[in-house]
């Protein structure tokens, strides 16, 4: 049972990583990256490393995701400065 869970976790991790890297839409890529981080923290928990799992969920998925979303918002504002002013 746990072997099936681990195999599914590994397969999903690889799939999400590939999807995030190949996504043309930056927003979609970042959301997939956050999902990847959360799944990776699950993997750490499965490896009996709760400390690393906590750090991965908080820093890897949460903060890095927020930082990249912030960058996307900034890029969009820069590309359309007039549109940002109008809103």
């Amino acid at each position: 049972m746990s072997l099936a869970l681990d195999a599914a976790l590994i397969a999903t991790l690889l799939w999400i990583a590939g999807a995030s890297l190949t996504s043309r839409d930056l927003f979609r890529a970042v959301v997939l990256f956050v999902v990847f981080g959360l799944l990776l923290s699950l993997a750490w928990a499965r490896l009996h490393a709760p400390d690393v799992a906590l750090a991965e969920a908080a820093i890897g998925a949460g903060l890095t995701g927020a930082l990249m979303l912030d960058s996307i918002g900034r890029l969009r504002r820069k590309r359309r400065p007039s549109a940002a002013e109008k809103r």
Binding site: P50, D51, L54, A55, A58, I59, L67, R74, K78, P81
Partner: protein, 214 residues
């Protein structure tokens, strides 16, 4: 039709992955029983959680350097020119975000203090507490309650950044005066010293991470 650059990058990634995997599989077994060594000496560390004992006592030097790297990165990020006033997002913050930030901030501080204190005996500690604090700080920023340019030029802000490493080095040097080893805490005081270092580190790390959000 696969583009050449994509193929090269993908090929490089696969080669790196296979090479790393081959190296890891071929590694010689770790000399000595490290886990057993830690377990036998955890009583001298001042804490009961073996991970915290390694990070803040047995291998405190690594943690000190790690925090120093983070501090330098944050200082460099702060040195970048601030966003021009006309580029600033001047739209009013969302009232939903503002309400959420008001509820989440006290809860985040509570959780962070809990994580900090619980680190002595269970998974937790300065880095986790700092991440939670930073999350609350980012929420405040998104709600336009605490904009970056309000504190960008503050000298005190840089002091907060440096405080973690400064206190860590001061405690390590003080310990050297007692035991003769840099960061070699006397066992009788180790618990209190680790708590002191972790408390200041949590604030410093939180501020360093938060400083990366311009």
């Amino acid at each position: 039709m696969i583009r050449l650059d994509v193929a090269v990058v993908a090929g490089g990634c696969v080669a790196l992955g296979v090479g790393l995997a081959a190296l890891v599989v071929g590694l010689p077994p770790v000399a000595g029983d490290l886990a057993g060594l830690v377990a036998s000496r955890v009583g001298d560390s001042g804490v009961t959680h073996p991970v915290t004992a390694v990070l803040l006592n047995f291998r405190a030097y690594d943690t000190l350097l790690e925090v120093a790297v983070l501090m330098i990165a944050a200082l460099a990020a702060r040195a970048l020119p601030a966003e021009q006033a006309e580029q600033r997002d001047t739209r009013p913050g969302s009232p939903v975000l503002e309400a959420l930030a008001r509820v989440a901030l006290p809860l985040a501080i509570l959780v962070a203090v809990h994580l900090l204190l619980v680190g002595a005996s269970r998974p937790g500690g300065a880095f986790h507490a700092a991440a939670v604090l930073t999350g609350a700080g980012v929420l405040l920023r998104l709600a336009h309650e605490l904009p970056a340019h309000a504190i960008a030029g503050e000298r005190r802000a840089s002091l907060l950044l440096v405080a973690g490493v400064a206190v860590f080095v001061a405690v390590g040097t003080g310990a050297a005066g007692v035991t003769g080893h840099f960061l070699g805490y006397p066992p009788a005081w180790a618990g209190e010293l680790i708590l002191l270092v972790e408390s200041v580190l949590a604030v410093s790390i939180a501020f360093a991470l938060w400083a990366l959000f311009p």
